[in-house]
């Protein structure tokens, strides 16, 4: 059986292909692309690319579970499921002890609290404001004139703590401009930006009231940003586990659920 998990996020579309059962011995492949406006075409391409890596094609996929905000836009899905269920499934497969999943994507951040058996107890999502998401980081990087990857690196040089007052992504841009005008150092502003994102996510985590000993796993594009992860670890005073390829964990969970559909 060959199945795919397809996570159509606001900025990136991710696919994971799993092969299992007799004659396969099991394989894994993934791929991703910017979402754009034509979600069905991009989704087909991403699945096709992932399939190509294991010398298969889109037509070889037997079941597809779609997730993410574009989940109902693809007519070829076998079923759609929410990012909440898919992310929790992916996280638990990688970390069977995890009881708190934190997923920060382009425009969404969510926190999922699970019990010891992996059952979802509660979840929280950011409101419309993009403050605790990747978009906030992107906007800040653009205003500072650096790449998003450099933003994290630069912030390591920070010596002076600045606190950003704006919790809104739009106002934050204005605040960054006035910090630049006020001759604040780029590295200090960069550090403040990460801290601001971490702060919002921290609030979201607190809202589900996690167990003090919860094993925390962070996924989504922003999990690759060591500065945000580091800030959050300091705030929580706990280690946060980040898988190798944090962006595809939700798609991976969707693929696992596709496998289960049978």
């Amino acid at each position: 059986m060959i199945v795919a998990g397809l996570d159509i996020g606001s900025t990136t579309t991710k696919a994971v292909i799993l092969g299992f059962g007799q004659g396969f011995g099991g394989f894994y492949s993934d791929s991703m692309k910017p979402t754009g406006i034509d979600m069905p075409s991009v989704s087909k391409e991403v699945i096709g690319e992932a399939a190509g890596k294991v010398r298969l094609s889109f037509n070889d996929i037997e079941r597809i579970v779609s997730t993410g905000y574009g989940r109902i836009s693809v007519p070829f899905r076998t079923r759609e499921m929410t990012e909440i269920t898919c992310n929790a499934t992916g996280v638990r497969k990688l970390y069977p002890q995890a009881t708190l999943a934190v997923d920060i994507g382009g425009q969404d951040s969510k926190v999922i609290k699970m019990d010891a058996s992996g059952r979802i107890l509660a979840f929280a999502m950011n409101d419309r404001c993009a403050a605790g998401t990747g978009q906030f980081l992107e906007g800040a990087a653009r205003t500072l004139g650096v790449s998003i990857d450099d933003l994290a690196k630069i912030s390591r040089e920070s010596k002076r703590k600045i606190t950003m007052n704006s919790t809104c992504a739009v106002f934050a841009q204005t605040e960054i401009v006035s910090l630049i005008t006020g001759r604040a150092k780029t590295e200090d502003i960069a550090a403040a930006v990460h801290e601001a994102v971490a702060n919002r996510v921290y609030g979201l985590i607190r809202s589900v009231n996690p167990e003090p000993a919860a094993q925390i796993v962070m996924t989504g594009g922003v999990a690759r940003n060591a500065a945000v992860v580091g800030s959050l670890e300091r705030m929580l005073d706990r280690e946060i586990l980040v898988p190798n390829n944090p962006q595809v964990v939700t798609a991976y969970g969707a693929a696992l659920l596709a496998e289960d559909l049978g």
């Binding site: 759609e80 929410t82 269920t85 059952r119 979802i120 509660a122 999502m125 409101d127 419309r128």
Partner: protein, 406 residues
């Protein structure tokens, strides 16, 4: 909604008749017109011969008919901020549009007097104060202290009753008419019968499959709120009960094939009712009942003690009760109505309703093990409605309910 109740037609007729009568009285001025808040001691107004209209109910109607936006824009143009209660903005906006002749959506008949009680929230008194200022007419606020642990129930009711007596004196001067105790008794009697009928309608939803969903029942708050002084209201509920009982006996479901029975918390997002109904139905979820109905229950009316019971009704208004009381009521409803999960509808511009939502949702989830979700939107301001995220949350609720059944 797909199996239309006969009661829906009758309700339409009652509503039309009320608003038609309002237009007539506005023209003839044969009765004084009052605007009142839901929880105010309105029996006194009816007994004094007032024709009573309800700005909150009007706001809900404007929301459902997608007309609130235009009214809110009038207030925004004057600097009233967006996060202010949208019922309030709708009402002030519609009033201003009326006064300025730019026209409001099916406006209420122009008022002579305003009655409010702070038993729903503090802001509502400020809202009425603005109405009073713009319409240049008197208003009275009935102060109703919060019913929280440690407060003496008798003291609170006494405090409200004293103000009811002052209100009667004021209205006697205002209308140049004597207060008629017999008429008051009759009105309380009608109200009691209406409130009993209303409860009977709600209780029918304990049955599985539910004979009428939350969406079917929601409009039927209107008679018990606006017309309970009139025997027509009680008659409406009595006939409705017969119809619901027939459905129960015949095994007729409001929507066939539903897998999960849900609770709704908060004021409905009026503009999104159909959209939500369809969404939930697609997930096999049926909205059964809500503590929102408690706001319109008016259960303390007692014709053997008309004034005391009206004061008690005002003081014990559901929104005036403690968080503990509301939590217990919610838990009881979950048990009595055999509910599987809950949708808590956060309203961005109504903090009084929304403030305890997280606590109650969390308690229900922990104590009863029921999956719940908190969606985000507003009573009437569509721009606060977060459709994408709400869809995900509702689907996640369906997935959690399915996982629990496994």
């Amino acid at each position: 909604m797909n199996q239309r109740l006969e009661a829906q037609h009758r309700l339409g007729g009652l509503i039309q008749k009320h608003y038609g009568r309002a237009r007539e009285i506005e023209r003839t001025r044969e009765q004084p017109i009052a605007w009142a808040s839901t929880g105010a001691p309105n029996e006194i107004l009816w007994a004094m011969g007032f024709f009573v209209q309800f700005p909150e109910a009007y706001a809900a109607t404007c929301g459902a008919r997608h007309a609130a936006h235009a009214h809110c824009a009038v207030t925004e143009a004057r600097g009233y901020e967006r996060h202010l209660c949208t019922y309030c903005r709708n009402s002030i906006g519609a009033s201003l549009a009326e006064m300025e002749g730019t026209g409001a959506f099916e406006p209420l008949a122009r008022p002579d007097f305003l009655l409010v009680s702070n038993n729903s929230c503090i802001l509502i008194t400020k809202w009425w104060e603005h109405l009073s200022h713009y319409w240049k007419i008197p208003m009275i606020n009935i102060d109703s202290p919060l019913v929280v642990p440690g407060m003496d129930r008798g003291d609170i009711i006494g405090h409200v009753k004293r103000q009811c007596i002052d209100l009667i004196q004021f209205l006697e001067d205002f209308t140049k008419k004597r207060f008629d105790h017999d008429r008051m008794k009759e009105i309380v009697e009608n109200g009691k019968r209406s409130a009993d009928g209303y409860r009977g309608m709600l209780d029918a939803s304990r049955h599985d499959p539910v004979p009428a969903s939350f969406f079917d029942l929601i409009g039927h708050n209107f008679p018990n709120l606006v017309l309970r002084y009139d025997p027509a209201s009680a008659e409406h509920y009595e006939q409705m009960k017969t119809e619901l009982d027939m459905r129960i006996a015949g095994g007729v479901a409001a929507a066939p094939g539903m897998k999960y029975r849900l609770y709704w918390d908060g004021v409905p997002y009026w503009f999104a009712i159909r959209n939500l109904y369809e969404k939930l139905r697609n997930f096999g979820m049926s909205l059964v009942t809500s503590t929102y109905f408690e706001v319109f229950a008016f259960e303390n009316l007692d014709p053997s003690h008309p004034l005391d019971s009206v004061a008690e009704n005002t003081a014990m208004f559901y929104l005036n009760r403690s968080v503990g009381y509301k939590t217990e009521t919610t838990e009881r409803i979950f048990r009595d109505f055999h509910l599987d999960g809950g949708v808590f509808a956060y309203a961005s511009s109504c903090k009084p309703f929304s403030i305890s939502m997280h606590y109650i949702a969390d308690t229900v989830r922990k104590k009863l093990g029921a999956p719940v979700t908190i969606i985000e939107g507003d009573l009437v301001d569509e721009t606060f409605y977060d459709e994408e995220r709400n869809n995900t949350k509702l689907q996640a609720l369906a997935e959690a309910l399915a996982a629990k059944r496994k």
